[in-house]
């Protein structure tokens, strides 16, 4: 989110579409995400000229070309660093970072971590398809163990990174999850935009060419009720049409799935979602799918002062009462004057 300095005006989805031909593979999950973003933008009251999409390299990073805003398609993994300089140069801009599991967690993992820890005000959309698409199908840092790919013909052996756990570990004050074709995605994006500070959103995205349907086990519409836990602040963590819920095993300090009988979730000990509870957030991002449903929506949201606001404040304080007289700066320190007769202090 940002402080608006330009006059808000009403926009429609069309105002956010460019004339560029979209070049993702037919059926790619990126199309759905693009639509969701274009649908969200008119609802959050910002203007195209005040909005900048910054991306790195990869399929997801083509995103800026398709948004009728300012856009910067940078280099592999470095979008967070560009965004940091841009935001410090103009804190009024509304900045969206578009990255992927390879761009944001492998080559650019360091920058993602530092952007989050500094809490730069921006939205980070990490499209997670668990594969390298643009380079033709190598396994990625989020690929599951055993993923066969051109670079791992016998299956990958390294354990995958967990994007939301990574973000929270880096100090994120906002962590959310959604997936490409979900109707809820615009609401997640709106919540991310409303959060002042670095808002991290993991978006599961279906790569139909190199990693097709890898999220179908929870994203498929059929049976979604049983496998998706959509979190709502202030609401009990219920799924499977209210017949199951998430409770705390206070002995083991772990979450557990409990049955809810006759809608009496209190009796079952189901937790009410508090987006500001960091301890529970740590447990939610670690929930193993299968044993648990996939936690989706806003997992954590507890704002802190932003990096750029603190920089602006410190710069202003340092400037207080000083005049920017460069000529006098040049003369600073110990000087001496040379006269015709010789030097003197």
């Amino acid at each position: 989110m940002n402080e608006m300095t330009t006059v808000a005006r009403t926009t429609t989805l069309k105002d956010w579409e460019t004339d560029q031909e979209v070049r993702w593979c037919p059926g790619c999950g990126d199309y759905a995400i693009l639509k969701a973003v274009q649908r969200t933008m008119p609802e959050i009251g910002t203007t195209p000229e005040n909005t900048v999409f910054v991306s790195g390299i990869g399929c997801s990073s083509r995103f800026p070309y398709y948004m009728e805003t300012y856009g910067f398609h940078t280099i592999h993994g470095r979008a967070p660093a560009f965004a940091t300089g841009l935001k410090l140069a103009n804190p009024d801009l509304d900045i969206w970072i578009v990255t992927g599991d390879g761009d944001g967690l492998s080559i650019g993992g360091n920058h993602t971590m530092h952007l989050i820890r500094r809490n730069l005000d921006c939205q980070i959309m990490l499209f997670n398809n668990e594969i390298y698409g643009l380079t033709k199908g190598q396994y990625s840092p989020t690929s599951r163990v055993g993923t066969t790919s051109p670079s791992t013909p016998f299956g990958s052996v390294d354990r995958p990174a967990q994007p939301c756990a990574f973000a929270l570990g880096a100090g994120a004050r906002f962590v959310a999850r959604g997936f490409d074709v979900s109707k809820e995605l615009p609401n997640v994006l709106k919540a991310a935009h409303a959060h002042k500070g670095a808002a991290f959103i993991e978006i599961f995205q279906n790569c139909i060419v190199y990693n097709k349907d890898v999220f179908q086990d929870f994203a498929a519409p059929k049976g979604a009720e049983d496998r998706q836990l959509w979190l709502q602040n202030g609401e009990p963590m219920l799924f499977a049409k209210g017949t199951k819920g998430i409770a705390l095993d206070s002995g083991a300090l772990e979450l557990k799935v409990v049955d809810v009988v006759d809608g009496d979730w209190q009796a079952a000990g189901v937790i009410v979602h508090d987006v500001t509870n960091r301890s529970v957030a740590h447990m939610l991002v670690e929930m193993r799918f299968g044993e648990f449903p996939m936690a989706l929506g806003v997992l954590y949201d507890d704002p802190r002062p932003t990096f750029e606001a603190d920089v602006v404040r410190q710069n202003a304080a340092a400037r207080e009462g000083k005049t920017a007289d460069l000529q006098s700066l040049l003369k600073k320190g110990q000087t001496w004057t040379v006269k015709e007769g010789g030097p003197e202090l």
Binding site: G71, A81, G85, A89, H114, A318
Partner: protein, 620 residues
């Protein structure tokens, strides 16, 4: 080097007629850099011209007394123009055996060694790998030796102030400085004032240091020393009247960048990452926020340049700075700045390489990296500073080229320029022509073209936030005018040609001759911090009647338009460089001239004598 010395070409001057080279050497913890710095100031106040060379180890606190823990500071001062920190010292002050061992070989034959014999005990001699005490065994017979128990004399002098033994011994450098001030007939008062100000909150410490200083001075004055210790007065150098201060290259770059941003009427954004010897630029700028400077210590070198490019995209003047290894990491991002045609200044304070190399030593071995070191055909202007004072001018020039041509620019300095101090005639800023940036704020007639071009082939600079000029940029090849993605063969050919033509077309002043004539038997062509030794060597040889001229190149890329013709007007061309011949290769490539290399890669600057022999050799 004294930029302000009258008649700097100095054709008629006797070379180094009345100049003295003093080297202070001691343990890292002995305060030699501070001693040297204060002696430098006293030289300035005495009206001498001077040049300095701080030479310190990479280790922050190397084990005491070891050979690799020696820190030295050399100053050359005199009553005529000084261009270098001097070749061989006339006086070596050695605070311990290790300092003597690592520095004595450089001392002029018959030069004076002042050694603190209090430190020449068995333990320290062993650490310095001396089998016997050199102060006693006659091995220093080529030089004059003055043994003084500086440690004890200091302890005696500061006794009344109740300092602990360790603290008391830390005043040794002031005792030594006091003696040096006496030797060269210098006024102590400015230094006493400085000590009182520095230790204002610790009056005992101030008093102890002043006492040590006075004791050292008094020692020189009263000790009846038969032999080497003599007072020597070096008269003032004839310099232009005006206001002066001392300036290091790092300060000069910082001030020049601030001046450049102000002349461009832009806020400056500086993204940096700590690296020796470039960090000092970040330190200086982070204190200058009132000049509309934002500094950002990034998580790495790549983030430092990328944040600066992001800031330039946002309408600030983006600047980043590093040294060789960090510059290598920034290479890909430089390509992006070239592709997206955004202004950016990249400062490279070169150090010994490759890899980590010699972090605290100087070298000029990043010229290839600056001119050629990126993927693709990625032309980028390169400007090289010759001295601390020149770095101020070069930084302004780099800012000007960056914003006027919408291009990244590399400014080369080196470890020597960054750390060395010289007197600086404070310039009058009103004498500089400003170059205010005009951002595009509305579509021109015929429509907005993000990659449309002006007469300099520069594209328009549009700040995000500007209504009506929305566009996308990036590292993929751009379509002419529109800036859309375009992979078409003819478009890539045309865009590559345009990027080249833009940089080739940057207006660079014609190359002049620093000393000598246009045309003749021999040109000595240099760049960067070799200016001093080349200039002095050419001056000396010309005084001997040799037909030799000095050409010093500031604009490494693009090169001055007349340079090829100028070089061809000499029978021979030699190129002294602190690398294995990088400018030499560029000159041969560009002009088909038979430029011969003169190389030194020891981590130390050229001596004047080395260049003189190269000249003699070339004229044989």
């Amino acid at each position: 080097m004294a930029t302000a010395v009258v008649d700097r070409a100095g054709e008629g001057q006797a070379p180094l007629s009345d100049a003295v080279v003093v080297r202070f050497a001691g343990d890292s913890g002995d305060g030699m850099q501070l001693t040297g710095g204060q002696f430098t100031l006293s030289s300035a106040l005495a009206g001498n011209d001077f040049a300095t060379f701080p030479d310190f180890p990479a280790e922050i606190r190397a084990p005491q007394g070891t050979l690799f823990g020696v820190s030295a500071f050399q100053i050359n001062f005199g009553s005529s123009a000084i261009d270098t920190a001097g070749d061989a010292p006339d006086v070596l002050v050695a605070m311990n055996p290790a300092a003597l061992k690592t520095n004595v070989a450089a001392l002029k034959l018959g030069g004076l060694i002042i050694a603190d014999e209090g430190e020449f005990n068995d333990r320290n001699l062993a650490k310095a790998k001396y089998d016997s005490n050199p102060l006693e065994d006659g091995s220093l017979a080529k030089w004059q030796l003055l043994k003084l128990n500086i440690s004890q004399a200091t302890l005696d002098a500061v006794k009344p102030f109740g300092l602990g033994n360790k603290e008391a011994l830390r005043c040794k450098n002031m005792w030594t400085l006091g003696l040096a001030l006496w030797m060269f007939d210098r006024d102590r008062q400015p230094l006493i004032d400085w000590l009182n100000a520095k230790f204002a909150k610790l009056p005992d410490l101030a008093a102890a240091n002043v006492a040590a200083l006075n004791a050292g001075h008094a020692y020189g004055e009263t000790a009846e020393l038969a032999g080497p210790l003599k007072q020597h007065h070096v008269g003032p150098a004839p310099v232009e009247p005006g206001l002066y201060r001392t300036l290091t290259g790092a300060e000069a770059v910082a001030l020049g960048l601030v001046a450049g941003a102000q002349l461009a009427k832009l806020p400056m954004f500086f993204g940096g990452y700590p690296i020796t010897p470039a960090s000092a630029i970040l330190h200086h700028l982070s204190r200058l926020k009132e000049y509309d400077v934002t500094t950002f210590q990034a998580e790495d070198e790549i983030a430092a340049i990328c944040s600066a490019i992001g800031a330039s995209y946002g309408g600030s003047l983006g600047v980043t700075s590093s040294s060789g290894p960090g510059i290598a990491l920034k290479g890909e991002a430089m390509g992006l700045a070239i592709m997206t045609e955004l202004p950016l200044v990249i400062v490279n304070s070169q150090r010994g390489g490759p890899s980590t190399g010699l972090p605290t030593k100087t070298e000029q071995s990043d010229l290839y990296q600056a001119v050629y070191g990126r993927n693709g055909d990625a032309p980028m202007p390169v400007i090289a500073a010759r001295s601390p004072a020149d770095a101020f001018e070069c930084a302004i020039e780099a800012c000007r080229v960056a914003v006027q041509y919408m291009t990244p620019v590399m400014l080369l300095t080196d470890g020597y320029i960054a750390n060395a101090a010289e007197p600086w005639h404070v310039p009058d800023l009103t004498a500089y022509e400003d170059f205010p940036v005009q951002f595009l704020t509305e579509a021109p007639e015929g429509g907005f073209k993000p990659y449309g071009r002006d007469e300099k082939l520069a594209r328009p600079w549009v700040k995000p936030g500007t209504p009506g000029l929305l566009h996308r940029i990036g590292g993929i090849e751009k379509e002419i005018d529109t800036g859309h993605i375009n992979y078409a063969p003819a478009n890539h050919q045309a865009m590559t040609d345009i990027r080249k033509a833009k940089v080739d077309g940057i207006k660079v002043p014609d190359q002049g001759v620093e000393l000598g004539a246009e045309g003749g038997k021999l040109a000595v062509v240099g760049w960067g911090s070799t200016f001093g030794p080349i200039h002095q060597a050419v001056r000396r040889k010309r005084a001997d009647g040799a037909d030799v001229s000095h050409i010093h190149i500031r604009h490494i890329w693009p090169l001055p338009a007349n340079l090829g013709e100028l070089l061809k007007s000499y029978d021979k061309v030699i190129v002294p460089e602190m690398n294995t011949g990088q400018l030499k290769t560029v000159l041969r490539d560009q002009y088909l001239v038979d430029a011969k290399p003169v190389n030194k890669v020891s981590g130390q600057p050229f001596t004047i004598a080395e260049i003189e022999s190269a000249i003699e050799e070339a004229l044989k």
